[in-house]
Symmetry: C2
Subunit: 545 residues, 2 copies
């Protein structure tokens, strides 16, 4: 592999030309400004990038002794639409151009989201020389746009709670990697941290503790933190499975699973005692309508609610005599009929309240007809679920049937492996290679229209074994490999070069207070965690209040 | 598995009887004192345990309203030998007894090291009730001793540098788990952070940067921090392989590896260009003598120096025409003869300067006769090195030949795996089971004397992919599983119960400022990382100056 420049951007821009000459930046005489005034997205971004341009604890030198022509004086952010925006959408133009010539730079974008992408790339072009001068190359010309419009990360705040400051650092890091969708798997069997105004008993009884909750203010705080960084927040309220915690508040909504004639019995490996909604209970639908209305109101800018609908255990439903009776009385023949009954009602409720639906593939696997515009998230694969098909099969099928699809299967980053090295000139992190070499269109059989419905991918960190102690260091920079795969050209596939660029990017994240883990032997600088200049826990980056 | 009491100790004591009655502790009226005065080991331990007994950020209640008989007033640490000590030794008595009856407790030990073990267990017996009272059971009777005298953890500070505050937190955590040997793999191919007074060029040229070094003061700081916690520090200066960083200061000491007739050529998978000492250069031995003398002087209390002697690539030596000539002239026939030549000289140097030798098994595999008293560390196994034997074979053989042996093979904790769950009533962390179920005497064929020479085991965290960002959360509580295996009775083997005790112990570490990762679904308390009461980065626990 080829060692990287200290300011190589990540993910790799689509088109980049840079001369090897440098210009320097005077921390006291540098101006970055926009043609769009009084727009919170831009105004707050410019504030936010100050400590990123000029890292705390590093005393930058002034290049005053240099010739003026070698100093970058100003950067203009030019937003062609001249309009602010509130919340990013899937099909927004996310592209931008950067030019730096001599003393002047320009970031040009159609809208504020492209401008944010440009600003992030510009921040990465800056580097600190050994003598502590802030520098970049000049001239530079970049023309950049994402390969896929949907680039997500799933965090699971139910198996372990993630405090708001950690979620915010995570969102910051998503922006540093040009991810643009935060899929918030907020509830599950283990806990229900979401404080509902309509049903306060959900978190009162379903959260781990009164401290392990997201209040309405917390949720708005997260949504705002994300949208200011060009990130959508898609909440997932997974039903009818994965609801044991919901059942602590509403025990009557759960199905009693039987072992033979004995109710509320777990059969390990088949089903738990009580973990699935009872679709025969009409109150369940009233509850779900009220809950989803609150969710829609809470996540008001986001068109989609993720409804889960994965991993429903038919053996539980069918073990229950009341459910068997219901099937008989309603001319249903199996659990798939019952799942169709439940999910059709919920999908219709979601439609009726003005929300679009996103679902895990299971409900579609079951043959349920989904409303137009439903996004199907593909997570199955032969490696995860032996009896399933390869993910490429599902992607081709779903998009060919007219659904938008998002690929998660190969990006389950909770499935850690030791990344052994295999060459002598560098430690090659094979784990990183694994995701980096995924081509989402491998074995794709759909037509051009279907290709466009494959909207992107999502890295998932299921939280069986992570919480505030290790979420950031486990996810980053591993998720960065997925970020480049989803953003950059399909031609950017040389992991032996990429590992060095990713190593530079990892040091960059560390400089921004994110404890991103190492992927190669080596070191970053005197700002590593545990050293005096460490930026981790630096107030400006830590969001602790 | 059976859920654990909130004050279940880890590792499990050999004999423990506790009633289910509680006594309470008044934070303002509790005395713990020793019969041994003016002993730094004890005096500093008592200081150190104050914030452990009474955690910062938790306002404990005073049990003043209770009946006096339900308050624990004082604990006496009774050290039978009535003598202080400076540094722990392998065969020290490490046992202790604890009794708590009504208002009085006693920790009885033969020496200060047993007393430290008792103090640690006592600290674990305390728990905080939901109403914020500090409590423990009474009566309690514990009689405890370790199954193996050597319970080590290896950290590698060469592939990535670990700042002193991180090393100190690691040593604290070792003490919380009754580990008693810190194996400091201080140098390797990647860097040489050890500042030598004799050869300052070693770190000047071999360290990653002038900030990535351990000064003589740092080293003494670490040694003292460890010994005050009953932990030996065994430094490893690995030769003749793993010395590329040494070669940056002394290029003339390295063997040029050839590819055919071309010198300084790497053949990937066979050898690097230059990474092994040249044993034909007489200056190498003068250098090694001076270096080892300095090491012996620096680590002055510790009898052993670990000399490494692992993974020497014969193909490199034999590729070099000057080495082949040397073999011919000295009636040597192969690389093993040369390894014998080198290692015999080094082992003799080490003996001559008054140090005992510890080595990786490779040199012994090569048939080199080792001086009496040499400790052989077993790291090979069929799972790591396909052409090798199972580790039990090596343990039996080495101890039967009269050597002390330490087992590392199954405890390479850098080799992470995803610990999938497999039952419905709890997430079972299979990765943790893997180490927990290791019986060091499985398939052991030696006699009783040989059994006693199997002195213990060592968890190793090779540092390809860890540094200050993730060392503590990756190692803990995974290494705790090894700790219990090395300390507790062979009868303590039920991992389904142990996981709940370990979960309690993990929360305990978190309460002491160590970002130990979760191993089960669930939560600890309002002191998790990212929450306001988090103890991580609390000055008293973080050792940042």
């Amino acid at each position: 592999g080829k060692p990287s420049a200290p300011n190589a951007p990540w993910p790799q821009p689509q088109m980049l030309n840079a001369s090897s000459d440098y210009v320097y930046i005077d921390p006291n005489f540098f101006i970055i400004y926009s043609n769009l005034k009084n727009c919170d997205i831009i105004d707050q971004a410019l504030e936010r990038y100050k400590p990123i341009f000029f890292p705390p604890k590093i005393s930058l030198q002034s290049p005053s002794s240099f010739d003026d022509s070698r100093v970058l004086i100003s950067v203009l952010i030019h937003i062609r639409s001249r309009t602010c925006a509130v919340y990013p959408e899937l099909r927004d133009d996310q592209s931008y151009n950067i030019t730096i010539e001599d003393s002047y730079g320009k970031i040009i974008a159609e809208n504020v989201w492209g401008a944010l992408n440009g600003l992030e790339t510009f921040s990465q072009l800056l580097f600190i020389t050994k003598d502590n001068y802030l520098a970049t190359n000049a001239s530079i010309s970049i023309h950049d746009w994402p390969r896929f419009p949907y680039r997500g990360v799933l965090l699971d705040t139910a198996r372990h709670f993630l405090p708001v400051p950690i979620l915010k650092q995570h969102l910051d890091t998503m922006a540093y990697n040009k991810f643009n969708v935060f899929h918030w798997h907020i509830t599950d069997d283990q806990s229900w941290p979401f404080v509902s105004k309509t049903f306060p008993q959900l978190s009162a009884k379903g959260a781990y503790s009164p401290d392990h909750v997201y209040t309405p203010a917390d949720v708005q705080d997260i949504i705002t933190h994300a949208r200011l960084r060009g990130i959508r927040t898609i909440p997932e309220f997974d039903t009818p499975g994965h609801v044991a915690a919901l059942g602590r508040a509403f025990p009557e909504f759960l199905t009693d699973c039987y072992n033979g004639t004995v109710p509320r019995q777990a059969i390990y490996g088949v089903h738990a005692a009580r973990e699935i909604l009872d679709p025969t209970n009409p109150e369940v639908y009233e509850f779900m309508k009220a809950l989803l209305q609150e969710v829609k109101y809470t996540f008001k800018y986001e068109p989609y609610i993720h409804l889960g609908m994965d991993e429903v255990y038919p053996a539980c439903w069918l073990s229950n005599p009341y459910i068997r009776k219901f099937l008989e009385e309603n001319n249903m023949f199996n659990s798939t009929d019952l799942m169709t009954y439940y999910s059709s009602k919920i999908l219709e409720i979601n439609r009726s309240i003005g929300a679009k639906s996103m679902v895990w593939q299971d409900v579609w696997d079951d043959g349920v007809k989904l409303p137009p515009g439903t996004v199907i998230e593909i997570w199955k694969d032969t490696t995860l679920v032996p009896e399933s098909q390869p993910w490429s099969y599902y992607l081709s099928k779903a998009t060919s049937e007219g659904y938008d699809a998002v690929l998660a299967s190969p990006f389950y980053l909770n499935m850690i492996e030791y990344g052994k090295y295999n060459t002598n000139d560098s430690v090659m992190n094979l784990e990183f290679f694994k995701w980096y070499n995924i081509d989402l269109f491998a074995n794709f059989t759909g037509d051009q229209a279907a290709r466009e419905r494959l909207v992107g991918g999502e890295a998932a960190l299921w939280a069986e074994f992570v919480d505030g102690t290790n979420t950031l260091s486990r996810l980053w920079p591993r998720a960065s490999a997925v970020a480049e795969r989803l953003w950059s050209s399909i031609d950017v596939t040389n992991p032996e070069d990429a590992q060095f660029r990713l190593d530079v990017h990892r040091c960059r994240m560390l400089r921004r207070g994110i404890p991103a883990a190492p992927i190669l032997n080596g070191y970053c600088g005197a700002y590593e965690v545990g050293m005096k200049q460490s930026m981790v826990n630096e107030p400006v980056f830590s969001h602790l209040t």
